[in-house]
Amino acid sequence: MPSEGADRIAVLQGTLDLIVLRTLETMGPQHAYAIATRLQQISEDLLHLNQGTLYPALVRLEQQGRIKGTWGKTESNREARFYAITRAGEKALAEETLRWRRMSGLVEKLLSQGA
C-alpha cells in the first residue's frame, strides 16, 4: 500500500543508485543491511528509509552490471549476500558523480543568486 515512505523514496530515487555505488566504492563489498546502516549513519538519521526499499536499487544496479552480488558469511557467521562494485560500476560512479556535482553546483548557484 502506498504510504508517505514512497514519497521519500521518490525524491531519493535518482540519487539512491549514486549513494549505493559510492558506499560500495569506499567500504568494499557490503551486504544490504550494512549499506542501509551506512546510509542512515551518513545522513545522520535525516534519511530514514525502510530497509526493504533498498532492494529495487540493488536489483537495478546488478542488472546494469554495476555491482555484483555473491553469497558469503558475515563476522557473526550469518549468511548474507555481499555486493561489490564492478569496473563498469566504478566508471558509472565517476560519470554520475561528475554529473551530480555539475547539477548541484548549478542549483546552488541559482539559489544563492536568485534570491
Binding site: 543491511y33 526493504g52 537495478r60 542488472q63 550469518r78 549468511e79 548474507a80
Partner: protein, 878 residues
C-alpha cells in the same frame, strides 16, 4: 539494453528469483535482529524491532519484483493463471458464457466473412475502383452508334469498351453444348488489366467482321471440354456451325462480366460491322476506365453533356445515360440485405455481451470477500480491475475459439445455402481480414461485457465487505440496477431483432402468396438450342418445331406441350416499341413499348396462363395466316383504357420507308410475373412463333414447356430423347421444373428470412436465459427475505407474483425501449420488404406477445423455486 535482457530472462526464472529474494530478506532480517540483540534486546523483541526497521516484507518483495522483471507482464501471467483457475471452478457459468459468446462471435465472423468477400474486397481487376459502366438508367444496354459516339466524345475516360451477350452452341463435339459467352471490343481485357493464362489476347483489328473468328476460353470450359490440354490453343472449335480458333485460356479465378452475364466462359471479338450507325437495337453493355483523378460525378456530368448533345441530334436515343461504379453494379442488389444481416448479427453479439455481463456482475457480488482480501493484501484498484479484465479476456478468448469453429462451419453452410444471386460468393471464407475482425470483436466483447463488472468489483469499504462475510451487499443496489439495465437492454435488442425477423417472415409470406399468373406445378422446361443445327432454313424450322411439339405431346404422361423464346422469371427482358393503327405517330423515344415474347401454340395451355378475352395462339397462326398477337392485361389497361383491344392492330419495327406489318390483337391474357417475382408485370405482347420469320430464321434457342401428369422431373429423359431423335447435335440445357424456377426466383428473400430467423431465435434464447439467470440469482440472494415473508404468512401466489413482477418490470422496460428502437431502425430494411410496411402493427403485436411469453416462462422457473423456500431452513442458513 543489458537490463532489458536481464528483466526478460527473469520472466522465465521467476521461481528461482523468488527463492533468492526470500533468502536475502531472511538474511537481512537476521542481521538486523543480531544487531538489536547485541544492544541487549530480548530475542522476541529484537525480532519485532527488526521487522519494524525492515518495513513491509510483502511490499519490499513487490518493489523487488517490479525492478527485477517486467512486473506488468508477470502479473498478466499470474492473472491468467488465476483467471483460468476461477473459470474452472465454476464450469456451469463458464460453459454458458462461452456458448453465448461463441454464438455471438461466430455468427458475426461468418457474416463478416461474407460481407468482406462480397462487399469489401475489390474486384479482381487492376485499379478496379476506376472501372465504371455507362448504361441507360444504369442498367439497360446501349446501341452501337451511341457507344462509338460516347467513346469518341467523352473527356473523362481512359478507355471505353463494349460487351455483348453471346450464347453459341458448341457442335461437332459430344455432347453438344449450349454455352454462355460474351463478344468483347478488343480493348476490354487490356482495360481490365488481365492477361490470359495461356495464349494471347485478341490483336488490334481482330474485332473487324471476317477476322473475328477467334475465341478465348474460360478455365472451367477449358478443363471440361479440352481436359486442360495446353495444346488447345490454336485448335479449331465449331460454334453455331462456324469454325473459330482458340487463341487463349483465362486463369481459373478470372471472371467477366462480374454482373449480368456472370456465367460467361468464353469470349470472342465483337465485330460491329454496319451496326456502327445503328441507334436502335440496344444490346451492348459499356464498360469504361476513369482517367486518374476523375470522379464518377465528374464523368457523369461529362456524359450528361455528351448525351444531351446526341439527344438533340438523334431524339429518343440518348436518354438517362448513367455512369455507375462497376462494383456498385456487382454488389448493389445485395448490399442492403448483407449490411442489414451484419447489423442483426451485431445485435446478437451485444445481447450475448449483456448476458455475460450480468452473469459476471452476479459473480462479482459473490466474490466481494475475495476482492476485499486481495485489496487488503496490497492489490491496488487498478490491479483488481486488471485481474478481472484478464479473466474476461480469457473468457472472450474461449468464446472466440469456439466462435471460430462455428464461423468456419457457418461460412461453409452460408455458401452452400446461399442462392446463386449472391455475387462473388465463391470467394467467401475465413481469411486474414476475417480473423482480424474476429480478434477485434473479441477484445471489444471482453471490454464491453467486462468493464461494468470490473468497475463494480473494486471496493472501497474494505472492512465492511470482509465483515459481511461475502454475502453482504455493499454496493449491491448499484449492482442490481446494473443487472436490471443489462437485462432490459437485452430485451430491447431482442425486440428489435425479432421485429426484423417478423417483418421478413411476413414479407416472405406475402411473396409466397403472389399469384404468378400461371400454374407452375407439373411443368417441365428445357432450352433447346437450334443455331448451328442442320435444320437452318426458316420453313424447315417451322416444320421442325411443329413436329417436335407433336411428338412431345404424344409421349405418354405428357398432358400438353408448348414453347416460348424466354421462360418467365428465368430470362432477360426484351422490350420493343410499337405503333398502334389509327393513332397519331408518337415522337421517337415515346412510342408505347411492351415486353416481347414469342410463343408457340400450346404455350398458354401448358402454363395454364388464362385468357381474359379472345383466344390463344393456335397452330393455324402461321406464315400464311394474318399476323396475330396476344397482349396482357397491363398492356390493355395502359394502351386501350376503356376500350376493347380485341381486333385492334399494332406494328413493330415501324419504319416510314417500308409498309408496316400489322398484327391483330386476338386475346388478352392475365399478367404473369416475368422478370422479378416481386415486380408488377410490365405491358407484354405474345407474338406467334410460327408466323414470325425473324424468329424462325435467327432464334438461337427455344424453351420447351411440357405439362405432365406425374412428376415433371421424371419426364426429362423422354423429352430429351425426343429432341435428339430429330438431331443428335441439338444442345439441351436449363432442364428445370417450373416449381424450381419459382423457388429460385424467391431464393433471396427465403435465404434472408432464414438467416434473420436464426439470429432472432438465438436472440430470443439468449434474452430468456438472461432474465432467467438474473431472476434465479435474485431469488437465491433473497432466500432469507422470502423465507421471512413466507413465515409471516405470504402465500405462494404472492411470492410468485412478487418475483415475476420484479422480472417483468425489467422485461417490459426493455421491450418499451425495443419498440422505440424498432420504429427508428425498421425503415432501414424497407428495401427488403414486400407487401408489408416496416411499422406493421401485427408484427409488433406478435413480437410483444412472443417475447413477453418467453420472459414469463423464464421468470416463472425461479419464481416457482422461491415458493419452495422452507422458512426455517432459509432463516437458519447463513
Amino acid at each position: 539494453m543489458r537490463r532489458f535482457f536481464a528483466r526478460f530472462a527473469n520472466l522465465f526464472r521467476r521461481r528461482a528469483a523468488e527463492r533468492e529474494l526470500a533468502r536475502e530478506i531472511a538474511s537481512h532480517l537476521a542481521l538486523i535482529e543480531d544487531d538489536f540483540a547485541r544492544r541487549g534486546m530480548p530475542p522476541a523483541e529484537a525480532k519485532l524491532a527488526a521487522r519494524r526497521a525492515y518495513g513491509g516484507v510483502e511490499q519490499a518483495k513487490e518493489l523487488h519484483r517490479d525492478a527485477r522483471s517486467f512486473a506488468w507482464i508477470e502479473q498478466r501471467f499470474q492473472d491468467l493463471r488465476y483467471g483460468a483457475r476461477n473459470l474452472l471452478r465454476t464450469p456451469g457459468f463458464t460453459a454458458v458464457a462461452v456458448v453465448a459468446l461463441a454464438l455471438g462471435i461466430g455468427a458475426n465472423t461468418a457474416i463478416f466473412g461474407v460481407v468482406n468477400a462480397v462487399l469489401l474486397r475489390p474486384l479482381a481487376y487492376r485499379d478496379a475502383d476506376r472501372l465504371v459502366t455507362i448504361l441507360h438508367d444504369g442498367a439497360a444496354p446501349v446501341a452501337a452508334a451511341n457507344y462509338i459516339d460516347w467513346r469518341g466524345q467523352n473527356r473523362s475516360f481512359e478507355a471505353v469498351a463494349a460487351a455483348e451477350y453471346w450464347s453459341p452452341n458448341l457442335t461437332n463435339s459430344n455432347p453438344p453444348e449450349h454455352l454462355t459467352g460474351l463478344r468483347l471490343s478488343q480493348n476490354l481485357f487490356p482495360m481490365l488489366g488481365v492477361e490470359p493464362m495461356l495464349g494471347r489476347w485478341f490483336a488490334a483489328g481482330e474485332d473487324q467482321v471476317g477476322s473475328d473468328r477467334e475465341v478465348i476460353l474460360g478455365y472451367r470450359l477449358w478443363q471440361r471440354r479440352f481436359g486442360g490440354d495446353r495444346g488447345a490453343v490454336g485448335r479449331p472449335v465449331t460454334l453455331n456451325g462456324e469454325s473459330y480458333t482458340v487463341v487463349g485460356v483465362m486463369p481459373a479465378e478470372f471472371k467477366f462480366a462480374p454482373f449480368w452475364a456472370t456465367r460467361a466462359e468464353l469470349w470472342a471479338p465483337l465485330a460491329l460491322g454496319d451496326r456502327v450507325n445503328q441507334r436502335s437495337g440496344r444490346s451492348l453493355r459499356i464498360f469504361a476506365r476513369l482517367k486518374r483523378g476523375v470522379s464518377v460525378a465528374q464523368a457523369q456530368a461529362d456524359m450528361a453533356a455528351v448525351s444531351a448533345r446526341l439527344e438533340r441530334q438523334y431524339p429518343g436515343t440518348n436518354r438517362d445515360v448513367v455512369v455507375t461504379p462497376l462494383k456498385e453494379n456487382v454488389v448493389g442488389k445485395v448490399k442492403t440485405p448483407l449490411l442489414t444481416l451484419l447489423g442483426a448479427v451485431g445485435f446478437v453479439l451485444l445481447i450475448a455481451c449483456a448476458n455475460v455481463a450480468h452473469m459476471l456482475l452476479a459473480r462479482t457480488s459473490d466474490r466481494q470477500k475475495e476482492i476485499a482480501l486481495r485489496t487488503a493484501l496490497g492489490a491496488s484498484r487498478a490491479r483488481v480491475i486488471c485481474q478481472f479484465l484478464t479473466e474476461n479476456l480469457l473468457l472472450a478468448a474461449l468464446g472466440a475459439a469456439a466462435g471460430l469453429v462455428l464461423a468456419w462451419w457457418g461460412t461453409r453452410a452460408l455458401v452452400a445455402l446461399s442462392p446463386a444471386y449472391i455475387p462473388r460468393v465463391e470467394m467467401v471464407g475465413i481469411d486474414t481480414r476475417a480473423l482480424l475482425f474476429l480478434l477485434a470483436i473479441t477484445v471489444f466483447t471482453a471490454v464491453v461485457f467486462g468493464l461494468a463488472p470490473a468497475m463494480h468489483a473494486s471496493v472501497r469499504n474494505l472492512s465492511g465487505a470482509l465483515k459481511e462475510g461475502g454475502r453482504g451487499d455493499s454496493g449491491g443496489a448499484r449492482r442490481n440496477r446494473s443487472r436490471g439495465i443489462l437485462v432490459a437492454s437485452e430485451f430491447a435488442l431482442a425486440f428489435v431483432l425479432l421485429i426484423g425477423a417478423g417483418l421478413m417472415v411476413r414479407s416472405f409470406f406475402a411473396l409466397s402468396a403472389v399469384d404468378p399468373g400461371f400454374n407452375p406445378h407439373n411443368v417441365l422446361s428445357m432450352v433447346v438450342s437450334v443455331s448451328g443445327s442442320n435444320e437452318a432454313p426458316a420453313p424447315a424450322r417451322e416444320i421442325f418445331y411443329r413436329q417436335l411439339l407433336e411428338k412431345v405431346r404424344a409421349l405418354p404422361g405428357v398432358v400438353v406441350a408448348g414453347g416460348i423464346n424466354h421462360l418467365p422469371l428465368a430470362g432477360d427482358l426484351w422490350g420493343w416499341p410499337f405503333v398502334i393503327e389509327g393513332r397519331p405517330r408518337p415522337r421517337p423515344g415515346e412510342e408505347p413499348g411492351a415486353v416481347y415474347r414469342i410463343a408457340m401454340p400450346g404455350y398458354f395451355e401448358t402454363m395454364r396462363l388464362p385468357l381474359l378475352r379472345g383466344r390463344t395462339i393456335a397452330p393455324s397462326d402461321d406464315a400464311r395466316a394474318p399476323g396475330v398477337v396476344v397482349i396482357n392485361e397491363r398492356a390493355a389497361h395502359e394502351y386501350w383504357p376503356g376500350e376493347d383491344p380485341i381486333g385492334k392492330r399494332i406494328a413493330f419495327h415501324y419504319d416510314a420507308r417500308t409498309p408496316p406489318t400489322w398484327l391483330t390483337i386476338i386475346g388478352v391474357a392475365v399478367d404473369a410475373r416475368q422478370y422479378d417475382w416481386a415486380y408488377k408485370p410490365d405491358p407484354e405482347v405474345y407474338l406467334a412463333a410460327l408466323q414470325n420469320h425473324e424468329f424462325l430464321e435467327k432464334a438461337e434457342y427455344l424453351t420447351l414447356v411440357v405439362r405432365t401428369a406425374g412428376n415433371p422431373g421424371d419426364m426429362a429423359p423422354a423429352v430429351r430423347r425426343t429432341v435428339w431423335s430429330f438431331d443428335r447435335n441439338l444442345p439441351i440445357s436449363g432442364v428445370l421444373t417450373m416449381d424450381r424456377v419459382v423457388a429460385d426466383a424467391t431464393a433471396q428473400p427465403r435465404f434472408e428470412t432464414l438467416l434473420f430467423g436464426i439470429f432472432a431465435g438465438v436472440a430470443l434464447l439468449l434474452a430468456a436465459v438472461g432474465i432467467y439467470g438474473v431472476m434465479n440469482y435474485s431469488v437465491s440472494r433473497r432466500t432469507r427475505e422470502i423465507g421471512i415473508r413466507i413465515s409471516l404468512g405470504a402465500s405462494r401466489a404472492e411470492v410468485v407474483r412478487m418475483v415475476v413482477r420484479q422480472g417483468m418490470l425489467q422485461v417490459l422496460a426493455g421491450m418499451a425501449a425495443g419498440v422505440g428502437g424498432s420504429l427508428l431502425l425498421s425503415h432501414l430494411m424497407a428495401g427488403l420488404l414486400y407487401g408489408v410496411r416496416p411499422t406493421d402493427p401485427l408484427t409488433f403485436a406478435m413480437v410483444t406477445v412472443v417475447l413477453g411469453l418467453a420472459a414469463l416462462a423464464a421468470t416463472s422457473v425461479p419464481a416457482r423455486k422461491a415458493t419452495r423456500i422452507e422458512p426455517m431452513v432459509a432463516l437458519r442458513s447463513e
